[in-house]
């Protein structure tokens, strides 16, 4: 159960039983950063599909060692996303329209999750999609955005005070390829000391995505 889901469930108390979920908001940034984001948005708007190899390196307090994962991710706008981990274990997560399914080699089980019944999960997934699809204008309401470097473009996102993200995340750094057509790496620093670094390689933009990308290995 992810932290976001926990947050959303618990927050429900204050809504008098209303269903509560979180999601991002329109951007509010300084003028110079706004220009950069506008440029990125234009670039990213041309992106319909992305497939990229990735290396995800997680440094978590509960593990003695860093966890390094390798795999391939696929993104197809507006709402398809798949995450195939090859190492250290085979794991697949596919988000397709209103359903998320995951499978792992060890259990061999497929777990379907319908977003309509789990709006909190839907919101969490929406954030993942926003990070990967470059919809940064939509993230701006919850984060202060600063420009760390213009070439290559590197943005830093710090959660605004009082937002739920501020309780968990300290900072997210997103660096773009020099052609600005896709992300090169994402670094996520959490308040508890955990961190995640995602590096993308062999990225193909607007290439046809193989049908196997939307199939779970176990299916």
């Amino acid at each position: 159960m992810t932290a976001r889901i926990l947050f959303s469930m618990v927050l429900a108390w204050s809504l008098f039983g209303s269903r509560t979920v979180f999601c991002a908001q329109p951007v509010e940034v300084s003028a110079d950063v706004r220009g950069v984001i506008a440029g990125l948005t234009r670039q990213m708007q041309e992106v319909e599909t992305v497939q990229s190899d990735f290396v995800q390196e997680k440094k978590l307090q509960i593990f003695d060692q860093r966890i390094v994962m390798e795999g391939t991710m696929y993104l197809q706008k507006p709402d398809r996303f798949s995450w195939h981990v090859q190492k250290p274990m085979r794991y697949v997560m596919i988000m397709d329209n209103r359903v998320m399914r995951q499978w792992d080699e060890e259990s061999g089980a497929i777990q379907p999750l319908v977003f309509d019944r789990n709006p909190s999960l839907a919101a969490a997934v929406q954030q993942i999609q926003q990070w990967f699809s470059g919809s940064y204008e939509a993230l701006g309401g919850e984060y202060d955005i600063s420009l760390l470097s213009e070439d290559p473009v590197t943005l830093s996102f710090s959660p605004k005070t009082g937002t739920v993200s501020s309780s968990v995340i300290e900072r997210v750094v997103v660096a773009f390829r020099s052609d600005k057509r896709y992300i090169e790496h994402i670094e996520i620093y959490e308040r508890g000391g955990d961190s995640t670094v995602l590096t993308f390689t062999n990225t193909a933009v607007n290439a046809a995505i193989p049908p196997s990308a939307w199939r779970l290995r176990g299916s």
Partner: protein, 805 residues
């Protein structure tokens, strides 16, 4: 009847001597009554219009105590997206800050401190001992094997595979075995328990599209309080008057329906009254050619004024609904004036009123008896209506029988050349009339077997289109997939209710399925249960078992490279145990308060379920025989309402039919004459039933009430027509019936242009019923009279039909 008439005759002569004094006193009384109308307290509480049915009262009481319907939602929305979300949130903050008047606002919720809630999450793990039931203990026991621990840790490992942040793992350190997982799921279910979906963005309650923000206002003003609702809406309008550009606010509240219905009804009454009055005037002017005929209106109106005051004194307050029925009473009671006026003018003598006094007394008494049937009702407003109508009719009768003849100009002579009923105008042969009538009755009787009844309360809602449109917009933005129903447990206090709730919820969950019901039974058991659970937790986590779980975590955790201290917080939490159950964390207490309702005499704890027929049926079955539990939902309310209204309708109808029949027999002293008089009522009832079937409209409570009025009027027509058949003399009763019918029909037909569904229903019922009753009175009664009352026997009748000479 004869004794009554003799008394009347003597009294009439006595009044003649003192008519100026009595007239003066009457005028003074009317003036005082007119002034008194402004000092009477009117009550617009629709609860007084509901049957005192136990199930209905219980459900309504629950909804009232829970203040569901008394909450006001302010839907603040972007009408111009360029205004931006910041402006939207600023508007929400500004409006919320201005809502401070405690006479209208009990609590305002517009924002949430998200980080504060986050800080409370770890406290929940400390609360687990109090929730450690036998089921929980069994579940944890099952996991305390190599395989079980391996499965739990594999899940944590998999969690690390997903893209993005991994802060969920910090909770895994406190609860690696997922002991709290069922409670998290329970919390998640509770989030949608009241059927709305709200996002939290920058601490504001926001819609999924980010274009709407919500302010929840808890108000002490009850939705059923019409005048309070008006003041509340005016206050909210003032509070939301000044808004930034591009921002608008919709007020979503039951109070708006109350006020709007009143407004629509008032508009309808004004329109229909003007229309009907114009028609009345035209009829009177063309018929009587005497401006003093206007007194027909004034007499019943004055009688109603007196009745309002008397009822106000008796009840202390008066339902606005009852006062609103005054117009209907005027419509009924103006007939008496018509008959007296016609008789006196035709005979050119004031004591000609005695000639029509008998049928007037008979008709008046029978009409009063129809309303008297409402005394049998458990609906408070109906009982008020009964007294109000009886006083009005009695006052009207007294005036027309004793004083009105002195206001009539005798020099004007006979009234007019209106077609008289009965013998003088025969278009069809008697046989043709009877065959046609029987055919119509058969057809209507056949159709009436297909009558359907409706108790859908929304059919009575005549709110303006703008309100309904705002609500549709609100529903499309905020509402969840389905409307919830509520399983309600009552107890003498909270602990008592919580204890019952545990058992009831478990049963209902088994019956309906876990995914279909959510409640606080699992999260907030009674103190006693939490005490037992805490002891169970302490006993379960013995030193041996703590050592066992520590070994298992190290052994299986090593396979995934978990650090040696990864689960230290968990091991510490199971080592610290106490006999005293921990108190629920603040957010559990706050959430639970939403599902606990403290009433005046009892405490309710409720759970929410998907209000679908199968689920509702299963839940209902699971609670059968338990007097402390009930289901409160729209479906249950409609069902209870249907049962109560049907019972009321049967009771009133039975009482009315019985009283009318008995009184008619007693007053007419002849069974054949009674049956003939009642033929108008039978015709009207069958026609009304058939009319509803043909129009494809189900019969509702207002239609039933209207049908009672039709019954009362039609028996009048029958009685007067019989009188006319017997005395085609100088009283011109048949002509008076025509005028009376035309005026009543004008009033009824004018209601067909009403916008409010209740008024329209009443208008439809009255129009169809009165048309049928009138046709029967004019066409059928004379034929029946000729056929079944031989001329040689007619003079021997001892009832009002007895020849006056």
């Amino acid at each position: 009847m004869d004794i009554l008439f003799q008394y009347y005759s003597r009294l009439f002569d006595a009044v003649r001597r003192y008519r100026f004094v009595i007239g003066g006193i009457t005028a003074a009384l009317i003036i005082l009554s007119a002034a008194g109308v402004f000092f009477i307290r009117y009550d617009n509480d629709i609860a007084r219009m509901l049957p005192a049915d136990q199930a209905l009262v219980r459900i309504m009481g629950f909804f009232r105590e829970a203040h569901f319907s008394d909450k006001v939602m302010l839907d603040v929305r972007l009408v111009d997206e360029r205004a931006g979300e910041d402006a939207l949130h600023a508007a929400v903050d500004s409006i919320s800050a201005g809502l401070t008047d405690s006479s209208f606002v009990r609590k305002v919720t517009a924002s949430i401190d998200q980080p504060e809630v986050m800080r409370q999450i770890p406290a929940f793990f400390g609360y687990l001992p109090g929730l450690f039931s036998v089921t929980e203990a069994g579940m944890v026991q099952e996991r305390l094997t190599s395989e079980g621990v391996h499965r739990s840790l594999a899940g944590l490992w998999r969690q690390a595979m997903i893209p993005g942040a991994s802060s969920g793992t910090s909770f895994a350190r406190i609860d690696p075995l997922g002991i709290a997982a069922p409670f998290w799921r329970n919390l998640e279910q509770l989030t949608g328990a009241l059927g709305y979906e709200v996002l939290v963005r920058r601490n504001h309650l926001t819609s999924r599209d980010g274009k709407h923000a919500l302010i929840i206002v808890e108000t002490p003003v009850r939705m059923t309080d019409g005048f309070g609702s008006q003041r509340l809406l005016a206050y909210l309008e003032q509070a939301t008057r000044v808004l930034p550009e591009g921002i608008a606010v919709d007020v979503i509240a039951g109070h708006r329906h109350t006020v709007s219905n009143e407004k629509v009804i008032k508009g309808d009454v004004a329109r229909t009254s003007i229309a009907a009055s114009l028609v009345f005037l035209i009829i009177f002017v063309f018929t009587y050619r005497d401006p003093r005929a206007i007194v027909f209106f004034i007499i019943p109106a004055c009688a109603v004024l007196v009745a309002i005051n008397l009822c106000g004194l008796i009840f202390g307050r008066l339902s606005a609904f009852v006062a609103g029925m005054g117009a209907v009473i005027v419509g009924i009671a103006d007939d008496y004036g018509i008959h007296v006026y016609t008789a006196v003018r035709a005979a050119r003598r004031r004591d000609a009123v005695k000639d029509v006094a008998r049928p007037l007394l008979v008709a008046g008494l029978i009409t009063m008896s129809v309303f008297a049937a409402f005394f049998f009702s458990s609906v408070e407003a109906y009982r008020e209506l009964a007294l109000f109508a009886i006083i009005s009719i009695a006052c009207c009768l007294l005036f027309v029988l004793f004083l009105f003849p002195y206001l009539i100009d005798l020099s004007l002579g006979s009234v007019m050349a209106v077609p008289a009923g009965g013998r003088s105008r025969k278009v069809l042969s008697d046989k043709a009339v009877l065959v046609s009538w029987a055919g119509c009755l058969l057809i209507c009787g056949f159709l009436s077997t297909r009558v359907t009844f409706s108790n859908d309360m929304s059919r009575f809602d005549g709110s303006e289109a703008s309100i309904l449109s705002a609500e549709r917009r609100f529903e499309s933005v905020w509402a969840g997939k389905s409307r919830p129903g509520f399983l309600v447990v009552s107890g003498s206090d909270m602990e008592d209710a919580l204890a019952v709730n545990e058992r009831v919820f478990a049963e209902a969950e088994r019956a309906a399925g876990k995914e279909n019901i959510s409640g606080i039974a699992v999260l907030l058991p009674s103190s006693r249960t939490r005490q037992e659970n805490a002891l169970r937790w302490k006993s379960f986590w013995s030193a041996d078992r703590r050592a066992q779980v520590k070994n298992l975590l190290q052994q299986e955790g090593g396979k995934y490279d978990f650090s040696a201290s990864a689960f230290e917080p968990f091991l510490q939490s199971i080592a610290v145990s106490s006999d005293v159950p921990p108190q629920p964390p603040a957010f559990v207490q706050e959430l639970s308060r939403r599902f606990i309702v403290s009433g005046e005499h009892e405490t309710f704890v409720f759970s929410s379920f998907r209000d679908q027929p199968r689920i509702a049926q299963e839940i209902q079955r699971s609670i059968e025989g338990n007097p402390r539990v009930f289901v409160a939902s729209r479906r249950a309310l409609e069902k209870a309402m249907a049962a109560a209204v049907n019972r009321e309708a049967r009771l009133i109808a039975f009482a009315a039919v019985g009283v009318v029949f008995l009184l008619t027999v007693i007053l007419l002293k002849d069974l054949v004459m009674t049956v003939i008089a009642l033929s108008c009522v039978v015709s009207a009832f069958l026609a009304m039933a058939a009319g509803f079937v043909i129009a494809g409209v189900p019969v509702s409570a207002p239609a039933l009430i209207a049908s009672m009025v039709v019954g009362g009027l039609c028996i009048d027509y029958g009685v007067f027509m019989l009188y006319s058949c017997k005395h085609s003399s100088d009283t011109e009763t048949a002509k008076a019936i025509w005028v009376s019918v035309l005026t009543t029909l004008a009033g009824a037909l004018s209601l067909l242009v009403a916008r409010h569904p209740v008024l329209f229903t009443i208008g439809f019922t009255l129009s169809v019923g009165l048309c049928a009753g009138c046709i029967a009175a004019q066409a059928v009664v004379p034929v029946l009279y000729r056929r079944f009352t031989p001329l040689e026997n007619a003079g021997s009748l001892t009832g009002f039909v007895l020849d006056k000479k």
